[in-house]
């Protein structure tokens, strides 16, 4: 069985004489990711009534994943083209520019003057990680302030980049809305020049967004305190159905003269989940500084994965750089947002119709993909065990998983586990 390699017929065995060192005996099994493990468990469940309200991935009204029409068309266009070793820097710059237009508005001076450093990234996670590493490299003593709560992976990202985190008030558990005055206090009390991680729209996991007025107050305070706002925009288009409107908070900050950074993901709003396409941009003083910052970001990426995969870049490029495709995309985003919106209404009405003792207004007050239901871990567990309904333990429901076919079942189940208050 063991191959003999040398001509002197010296065979070697599975000898333990070479100190059969057990390198990894001390390695403990890692905890499962709280979000992806929900999908794993869901997939293993054989119940015909199961519902996955775990991961924030869009589903159609049959509960099926969707490939957008604009994506199909873009894919058909690039099929059969040469495989690129890398995207040409012209294509790359154009794509980054089109992505960044989504953030700042297509007529923004920032774009015209090239006052941003932009690089493609591995979806939202990759963009956040690049920024976190960049932050650590150039502000090694800094911390990051995160909303309480925030997407669970945010904690992992900044931790692995070795940037300590602090939280600031955000979600008000009783009202299931924004804890605005506490938020402002935390922003005021943070040391000047602190780094903050903000969700510009469709907050994950709560679905609670500040109003425009509230954003103005926050932005003004940021300017006074000279804080650095980093926006993680993973759901642009899903909050209001309008891409431009969903970036309004960022526009307000920029109008006030805040110098910001922004991570964008095309996973959800283009349905390109598995392709890992996103963008990171950091605002700069001028185009020259943009070159410097971009080069530093590329340096970080080079030692991690070199460059993001070309296929996803070509798809996004094909959509954003073609006015007709882009127009189609905008319509498809609106349709996705509308479907979610309408199911929110249906779910809330169904619960009210069942004479639930609880207030369910937050279902329609909250925006984007998620509803922070307020369900306790025990109730979440009952939904899982008794009804095969899957969500994360914090009670976050991905509304994209709700359909006209399952909304009654869902409402009944929620009512069952909450009717005694």
């Amino acid at each position: 069985m063991w191959k003999c390699f040398s001509t002197t017929s010296r065979c070697f065995s599975t000898s333990t004489s070479n100190k059969a060192l057990k390198w990894w005996d001390h390695v403990a099994p890692a905890p499962k990711d709280p979000i992806t493990s929900v999908t794993e468990a869901f997939l293993a469940d054989t119940s015909p009534t199961k519902i996955n309200l775990g991961v924030g991935a869009y589903r159609d009204d049959e509960g099926k994943p969707v490939v957008l029409q604009c994506v199909r068309e873009a894919e058909a266009k690039i099929a059969g083209c040469d495989f690129l070793e890398s995207v040409s820097s012209a294509v790359s710059s154009k794509l980054v520019e089109e992505s960044v237009k989504l953030v700042y508005g297509k007529d923004s001076d920032i774009i015209k003057e090239g006052r941003f450093a932009g690089v493609q990234a591995l979806s939202g996670t990759g963009a956040c990680r690049l920024f976190a590493e960049f932050q650590r490299r150039f502000y090694p003593e800094s911390q990051i302030y995160m909303t309480d709560p925030t997407w669970s992976n945010h904690h992992n990202i900044w931790r692995d980049a070795i940037v300590p985190e602090r939280t600031f008030h955000y979600y008000h558990r009783d009202s299931k809305g924004l804890d605005f005055s506490a938020l402002l206090d935390d922003v005021k009390n943070a040391p000047d020049g602190s780094f903050f991680l903000l969700h510009p729209c469709a907050h994950n996991p709560t679905g609670v967004d500040p109003t425009e007025e509230q954003w103005r107050e926050i932005s003004y305070l940021f300017k006074v305190k000279n804080h650095f706002p980093f926006f993680d925009m993973a759901y642009q288009g899903f909050a209001s159905g309008d891409l431009d409107r969903d970036a309004r908070s960022i526009h307000i900050f920029v109008e006030d003269g805040n110098v910001i950074g922004c991570a964008q993901s095309f996973a959800k709003n283009m349905g390109l989940y598995g392709h890992r396409v996103g963008c990171l941009n950091v605002l700069c003083n001028d185009a020259e500084q943009a070159v410097a910052i971009k080069s530093q970001l590329q340096l970080i990426a080079r030692a991690m994965y070199s460059s993001p995969p070309v296929h996803g870049i070509l798809l996004v490029s094909g959509i954003l750089c073609d006015p007709n495709m882009k127009a189609l995309w905008v319509k498809e985003v609106k349709a996705m947002a509308n479907r979610i919106q309408s199911l929110r209404t249906t779910l809330q009405k169904s619960l009210e119709h069942l004479s639930s003792p609880l207030n369910w207004e937050h279902i329609t007050n909250q925006v984007g993909m998620f509803c922070f239901s307020g369900l306790t871990p025990e109730q979440v567990d009952r939904l899982l065990r008794e009804f095969h309904i899957y969500m994360t333990l914090d009670g976050r429901m991905s509304m994209a998983g709700v359909t006209t076919g399952n909304v009654s079942y869902l409402a009944n189940a929620i009512h069952e586990v909450t009717k005694f208050g």
Binding site: K3, S6, T14, N18, K19, A20, L21, W23, W24, V27, P29, A30, D33, T36, E40, V67, V71, A79, G80, D82, F83, L84, E85, S86, L122, S123, T125, R129, N156, I157, D160, G193, F228, D256, G257, V259, A267, G271, L272, Y273, G274, H275, R276, V282, C284, N285, Q289, V291, I293, S295, I300, R302, A303, M304, Y305, S306, S307, P308, P309, H311
Partner: protein
């Protein structure tokens, strides 16, 4: 602008030295320019090559309307992982059969190395990695940023333009027990100098006796000899002795999937239980880096590897690429011999894989770039894949001039 960027005092980072060569090449307007910089395959016509079998696989995927674009699991595409492990370790590998191997899909070789290095930095007890001198420029940065301390072991002998085997054995022999050792599985980059089978066996024995942990970088399987199994010989030799190791695989070159970032990291463990725990920890490295790997390239690879006809087609196309490179080596050697260029150029045909370490110094390289518009890295490494029968004479002239006119 009302306020200044908090990053205002950031200076511009240096260009990556390898990719910078192509940047400079692109700026050159000379019709005679020749890019022998980056290790990407080119045809006789100097064009990038999309393998026919890759096109076919991609078309199959595009035509399949039932395919969706959902997130892959954190560890990537399951089929792809299993098939990749089989490719490098052999389908009959006992390690695979005993479930002692964990394989995770990563972003090409770079991503596989980084994830492996991050894992080691967190869980391994000896945080020093020994890398050959010289090695691919990005290795130091990858391991350093992952938190490992990087040291070198002697590898290349400029006098012989071959392996400094004694130096290698001495340096590895002196390494603290348990140290990690980076090994190029075949077709060493940048030198093209590989140990013989006998030398590999000695390296293996030495490493196992000192408890040194092997970390293989396999970026050219199939490119060195044209035979996938032969090119995995060094890796399989280590796995066959029942010991543990890491292996990073890239499909950039051998499937021509450069831009799609397809690769895999495998960790061979003592037991299936350990492998399972190790995998769970690898997920914790990956999730905060990019959550899950990209779907497109891995799907193409899996499609090819799992279909016997497509696999065979691939091996034929791969051999053709390797053969073209080998023939370029011969042509260049013959041309230099015919030209009477001073020096021993036999290393050109002895060295293996995509690169030749010419032995030219940086002054000579600069001269060749300036006078002959030939682009290569300043260490004198040339990518044979960038050569063609048509351009061999031009390169020969340039080398001849550099060697005779520049010290």
């Amino acid at each position: 602008m009302d306020s200044s960027s908090v990053f205002a005092n950031i200076v511009r980072a240096p260009e990556d030295s390898i990719l910078g060569v192509t940047v400079a090449y692109n700026k050159d307007s000379s019709p005679d320019k020749l890019n022998l910089g980056v290790g990407a395959y080119r045809t006789e016509e100097g064009k990038p090559l999309v393998l026919k079998v890759v096109r076919r696989a991609e078309q199959m995927l595009v035509n399949d309307n039932s395919r969706v674009k959902e997130y892959l699991p954190i560890v990537g595409l399951a089929d792809f992982n299993k098939l990749s492990a089989k490719l490098i370790f052999g389908a009959d590998s006992p390690a695979i059969q005993e479930n002692r191997v964990t394989t995770v899909q990563c972003l090409s070789g770079t991503g596989s190395l980084r994830v492996g290095a991050e894992f080691l930095a967190r869980h391994y007890h000896q945080l020093t990695i020994y890398i050959p001198n010289p090695t691919w420029g990005n290795h130091t940065k990858i391991f350093g940023l992952a938190g490992l301390s990087v040291k070198a072991y002697r590898y290349y002998d400029p006098a012989t333009r071959g392996l400094d085997f004694q130096g290698l054995l001495e340096d590895l022999g002196a390494a603290p027990s348990g140290s990690i050792v980076l090994l190029h599985a075949c077709a060493h980059n940048p030198t093209g100098v590989d140990p013989t089978i006998e030398q590999w066996e000695q390296i293996r024995q030495l490493m196992r006796s000192k408890g040194l942990l092997p970390f293989f970088d396999s970026a050219y399987q199939g490119f060195a000899s044209g035979n996938l199994d032969a090119d995995a010989g060094s890796v399989r030799m280590f796995v066959a002795d029942g010991g543990e190791c890491l292996a990073a695989q890239s499909y950039a070159k051998n499937m021509g999937l450069y831009g799609e970032r397809v690769g895999a990291l495998s960790i061979v463990c003592k037991t299936a239980d350990v492998a399972s725990r190790v995998e769970s920890q690898l997920k914790l490295v990956i999730r905060p880096m990019y959550s899950n790997p990209p779907i497109h390239g891995a799907s193409i690879v899996a499609t090819i590897l799992k279909d016997r006809d497509m696999y065979n087609e691939w091996t034929v196309e791969l051999k053709a690429m390797a053969d073209r490179i080998i023939s370029m080596r011969q042509q260049l050697f013959d041309a230099l011999s015919a030209r009477g260029t001073p020096g021993d150029w036999s290393h050109i045909i002895k060295q293996i894989g995509m690169f030749t370490f010419t032995g030219l110094n940086s002054k000579q390289v600069a001269f060749m770039t300036k006078e002959y518009h030939i682009y290569m890295t300043s260490d004198g490494r040339i990518s044979m894949a960038g050569l063609s029968s048509r351009t061999v004479p031009h390169l020969t002239e340039a080398i001849h001039a550099a060697v005779t006119r520049v010290g």
